[in-house]
């Protein structure tokens, strides 16, 4: 990366304010739910009341007769299926329902009340089928088949292996070294099964979509989607249209956390728009719908078996991971792969044998969640690591230092790791936790280390142009959902060009114009889009210097750019502004200043399906270390988290306060998920807590003091050395709390969430 130098940066590295802060604080920022269009219709959906069944009959005639109803659609009216890489999910249920809450009939009317009223008049007869909710039960050959038509689904990719005639849609394998020989050589063997639970992403903004198919057949979709290109391509494939016929506009997003990555409510808005004679259709979910029918962070069961020598070095690791994907695939196959290969953690383990299973159940779908499986895996492997250290009477931090991956090591997937800030994170965390001194009386503490990959290969691109007044427009499909992408991309643009931050105008994503970008997910935007922006910015800078060189009649080498102005080095009076440079005047030798940037990480490769090995499967790793200090109330079972230290290797910290806020937000979410949040189903598969009254989510007052710390081990390929860091803060918190509880109360809880009930039960077991 040519941008790394020792010169002082003027904009990156500074805690500049969020460029969208004012808009959000004053309430002027536009979200998808704020889009009101002329002639807009409003949607309501009738959903399945049962977890599994065949649709025998749908009678929409009474609903259609309601005044104001303009369109009624069923699955048979729109026989399209979405979800790459496995197109298993219909826009509306076709012939069969697979979970409680699955959309069956959608209605568009002149107002929302009418649509809802009409939905109640639809009659659906079901033939109920046996449902299966437990993924382990669903894996057996005898379990009811949830997708008997599985083999007919379109598969966009062969990078996952279904188990024929079963509910297992993907069996991921990682094979490294000789695990049997490893266990044979082990002095001690440890085993444990760790369970993570389902919970909701609960973004503040419920999913909102407005879809319109105009008179020319062009579909425009305004949606609260993190990944407009992902959605455009998925919809186009589902509909059998060229991609450019689907335009996805993604304004600000009020929180995503993964649930707004792929299609959720959008297909329903589209299904209605296709029948609405050109009128736009708005479909904004109620909070109840978000909780009970969009998606959850799915439950995962991880069984680990580890062979160690007396000194603690790990000679073999076997893991079986079962991912409950719910009724449809969503990101299941990829999650199963990327999560499962993380089962070894950031540790040196020569011999590994991992099996990951992604399994259908008759439940709400599981989707991506910030951390993408590593939160669940880290809960397992970091609980497990502590168990080993404690059993061997080793200091848990010192033990980790010993087994951590180091620069030049080969990791699970065969990559030789570089730029690995693990030790730096761990040391910084230990220092901030005052690890060398004893914990205060009555408290326990723990420090964990985690590593998370980022999706690769995945491309990002952007356009940039200079306006006549010297300001710059940046066009990127990265979406702003509170994570600060607008600010950091604007900073990279300004720094790379030499412009003032306020001269950068970043446009909201619109796939008709902002060029392709895989997604805003996987902590990839600063790294991938950042690189694209940097490339464009450098090109713009070069063009500016060339023009200024003509205007000022000196060689470009003698010029310097700063604050949207070019001056002859050392001669401040000999200068010109960007607006001087922007104009196409007589004598011009070039047209408007425009540039593009396109990026893909170097040398990423694919997995071998039999061994799970690839040379380099991520552009960078998110390395983190997190420490917590807790106390446990032996009477109530309540855990009090006193503080959390959250350390991340950012490569380079482009905006310290933005990184700190990311760390705080991630830790808070992870804390809430580890301690209280859970999507609870009854025996019929119904979500019993689909409201903020019943769903226990931590508020600001419940979150402990958080100490975010950034360490910088520059990445050779990152923009200014930066890596992504958005997901790191969520990964280790649950494990750290569980380990701190073990430290405080000498109990080991292997099931999440760490509710008072579970704590008490564990204590009684100990006592009993």
């Amino acid at each position: 990366m040519t941008g790394i130098s020792d010169r002082d940066f003027s904009i990156i590295g500074r805690s500049v304010r969020q460029v969208d802060g004012a808009e959000k604080l004053t309430g002027t920022a536009v979200f998808a739910g704020d889009v009101y269009l002329h002639g807009m219709l409003f949607a309501a959906v009738l959903r399945s009341p049962i977890a599994h069944g065949l649709i025998q009959r749908i009678d929409v005639s009474r609903a259609e007769r309601v005044k104001g109803v303009k369109a009624v659609v069923t699955g048979n009216d729109c026989p399209f299926r979405y979800n790459p890489p496995l197109r298993d999910q219909p826009f509306l249920a076709i012939d069969r329902v697979r979970y409680v809450g699955e959309p069956v009939v959608a209605i568009a009317a002149e107002d929302e009340e009418t649509a809802r009223r009409a939905a109640l008049l639809v009659e659906v007869d079901y033939e109920e089928l046996p449902a299966v909710f437990d993924p382990l039960a669903a894996m057996s050959k005898e379990a009811p088949r949830i997708h008997p038509d599985f083999d007919n689904y379109v598969r966009d990719s062969r990078l996952f292996t279904p188990v024929p005639q079963s509910n297992i849609l993907s069996h991921f394998k990682l094979r490294k070294g000789n695990v049997d020989a490893g266990f044979a050589a082990a002095d001690r063997i440890f085993e444990g099964t760790y369970r993570s639970h389902a919970f909701n992403h609960a973004p503040l903004e419920p999913h909102a979509a407005v879809a319109q198919v105009d008179r020319t057949g062009q579909l425009t979709l305004w949606a609260s989607t993190q990944s407009p290109w992902f959605v455009a391509e998925d919809l186009a494939k589902a509909l059998g249209w060229p991609v450019h016929r689907v335009r996805v506009i993604s304004p600000y997003i009020g929180g995503g956390f993964g649930i707004k990555h792929g299609l959720k409510n959008e297909p329903i808005a589209v299904a209605l728009a296709l029948k609405a004679n050109g009128r736009p259709v708005r479909f904004v979910l109620s909070r109840e719908e978000v909780f009970s029918s969009t998606a959850v962070r799915g439950a995962v069961t991880v069984s680990l078996k580890t062979g160690v020598r007396e000194d603690g070095s790990i000679v073999a690791r076997k893991a079986e991971v079962v991912w409950d994907t719910g009724a449809y695939a969503d990101v299941g196959p990829l999650l199963c792969r990327n999560g499962s290969y993380s089962a070894t953690g950031p540790y040196r383990i020569e011999n590994q044998w991992i099996d990951g299973y992604c399994v259908y159940t008759n439940k709400i779908v599981s989707s991506a969640f910030r951390g993408y499986g590593v939160m669940e895996m880290a809960f397992a492997y970091e609980s497990h690591t502590d168990e080993i250290a404690r059993a061997l009477s080793l200091d848990t931090v010192e033990y980790r230092r010993r087994i951590l991956l180091r620069e030049g090591d080969e990791n699970a997937t065969g990559e030789v790791v570089r730029s690995i800030g693990l030790r730096e994170c761990l040391d910084a965390c230990a220092e901030a936790m005052d690890w060398d001194n004893p914990v205060p009386e009555g408290r326990g503490r723990a420090i964990v280390t985690t590593a998370k990959s980022s999706v690769a290969p995945s491309g990002s691109s952007c356009f940039m142009y200079m306006n006549d007044d010297g300001s710059l427009t940046l066009m990127s499909s990265t979406t702003e959902m509170g994570q600060g992408s607008r600010t950091v991309l604007s900073q990279i643009a300004a720094e790379s060009v030499g412009a003032r931050l306020e001269d950068i105008r970043l446009r909201a994503s619109d796939t008709a114009f902002t060029p392709p970008d895989r997604s805003t997910s996987s902590s990839r935007s600063t790294f991938n889009m950042g690189n694209a922006v940097f490339t464009a910015g450098q090109d713009v800078r070069k063009q500016i210097l060339s023009r200024a060189s003509a205007l000022l009649e000196v060689s470009p080498d003698e010029l310097e750019i700063c604050n949207s102005s070019v001056q002859v080095r050392g001669v401040p009076a000999a200068c010109c502004s960007f607006s001087d440079v922007a104009k196409v005047l007589p004598g011009a030798t070039s047209g408007p200043i425009t540039a593009h940037g396109s990026f893909v990480p170097k040398e990423t490769t694919s997995f071998d399906l039999e061994t799970g090995r690839g040379v380099r499967i991520t552009a960078f790793w998110l390395y983190s270390s997190q420490g917590v200090e807790v106390s446990v109330d032996g009477d109530t079972g309540e855990i009090t988290v006193h503080k959390i230290v959250s350390v991340h290797d950012t490569g380079r910290t482009l905006n310290p306060s933005a990184c700190a806020v990311q760390a705080e937000g991630g830790v808070a979410i992870a804390c809430s998920a580890a301690l209280t949040e859970e999507t609870i189903l009854d025996e019929h598969g119904r979500v019993v807590n689909p409201s903020f009254m019943d769903y226990e989510m931590a508020t600001a007052g419940d979150v402990p003091e958080i100490f975010p710390i950034m360490v910088e081990v520059p990445h050779a390929e990152g923009p200014y050395g930066a890596k992504g860091m958005g997901e790191g803060p969520t990964t280790g918190v649950a494990a750290a709390i569980a380990n701190a509880v073990a430290d405080a109360a000498d109990i080991r809880v292997r099931d999440l969430p760490l509710t008072p009930e579970r704590i008490l039960r564990s204590m009684q077991v100990l006592e009993g």
Copy 2:
């Protein structure tokens, strides 16, 4: 231009159908007037009933009280002025009105009827001032000053010279050689004064604008404007905002012809939107408003004096040109310059002395019209050329052959002309007119030659990206107004990439995304934007070849692209599609395929204000020759045009049928303007024929048979050698008809339009 080669082209050079034909034929194409937004308000305007006066009092209180009225604005509410290069025109009249029809008060209401009704309740008191309608009278020192505050106006450019304390806002001078010596050396001297009249552009689509200032302060303007960037920059300067705060979206346009180049009704929509609390305001003009208050092609008086030797060679030309710009500058200064320097025509004239005057009058504003002054100048110089030839008893075609500019000659502004297809045009026209054989009994005929420059330097830029399915999105700010730009740019894109035409998706202009382009005017889009698209296309092609080379494992040199597919040369089975190439897959070495193109013509320079000389002031010239055959009814004075041959040097004909249609359309308009159309004012300055009932416009049935012919003298800098050709067809028609009438009836009419009344009067003069 590296694109010129002898290989067979697959898409350019073919008469492919207009890519927007189906949309327009089926009525699905969206125009600005089709934009209906949620909460939209409707505008009406109260206009000045007098030609010149001071505003004493405006009382809007009764209007404001009308139920449904949401905003009422006067000039004092929006003290902004537009029009580069001279910011003389207020959004609404401030203190003074200068023509009948000038907007004084604007009202936005819940519906159009309410807005109109409220406008009638506004009371305005004027102190009437003497008005001046004749530009020659307006030039005198005694004439009423129309802009006494002229010196306070902002001037964006110094490239024009006002005459102090007068109504002359620009005095253009061209001085070449020694004109006195030239006249002294002449054998004969000819003089004549030629008058072109005012007429309306009369686009089928009346001007439409919808403006909205959103909660963040961003202005979005949907408008029937030819030149969205020109409008965005003009508005931003007027408002004192950064350019990116003004977003101009230009959907399809139903005819422009120059009247939709700069701001017309848009400032009023904006003035109201600024007061409308975020609600959008729609302002679509009535036909009467288009006729009486937008703009006209202005009247021009050209006095020519020419010294010739006995052999007809011209030794001196003196010209005085008076341009009536109406009440405001609009494009007046530039028009005066570019029109006036055309007074010598495409002929070799060593000594020249030209004075051009752009003059304010109390009339509707004059704006750009297709041909940009050359229509008026050519009427003068080509009438004059024929008069000379006839006086010298020379064949008018042979005479022109003798005096035409030739390759390597220096023209009026000092440019050494290249790629000059004048002789080719003239010869082709003479052949098609069967010039060597006598004209049928009772008819007259004439052939003229003209040259028109294109605005320069002016930049164009575009972006292009490849979608995941291999289709390509092209983003250009060129607007489609019936001239076929979408088709020709799509052709250039497809050809330069190697894609199928249907794989190119061209997006409508939107200044938030489509990068800067000066304007869709001046026949510049095929040349300027065409070059930008070509550059981007070549870059995309290179990227495709590089990726295909990796996929097919051969060197890029061994590959060929055709029909959106890449194959190993000579091995059709070894191929991959664009969609194979588009995907970012494991092993990818580059991100999404994106490209930009930016163009400015080489070596254009500016004018010297005292001599009007510049080395190269246009990127290319439109060279044309047009022949007509007429008969004149001696009883009625009616002219029948039997046929028109219209020959144009396209450089390379990128789409033969599109060029032919351009020629036919231009000739039809010019014919109608020459024979019947006229915007007529009464003695108070009121337009007396502001409707299609009273304004005589030729219909398809009135237009003679037109024979379009393209000749190709490739331009070294043009895309595939092409030049622009859109304005050529309008330039020579009036002169050709006047000359043919002279040939048929031995009368010389020097005033346009060539109405039966004028013809009869000329004949009676001859008879009398």
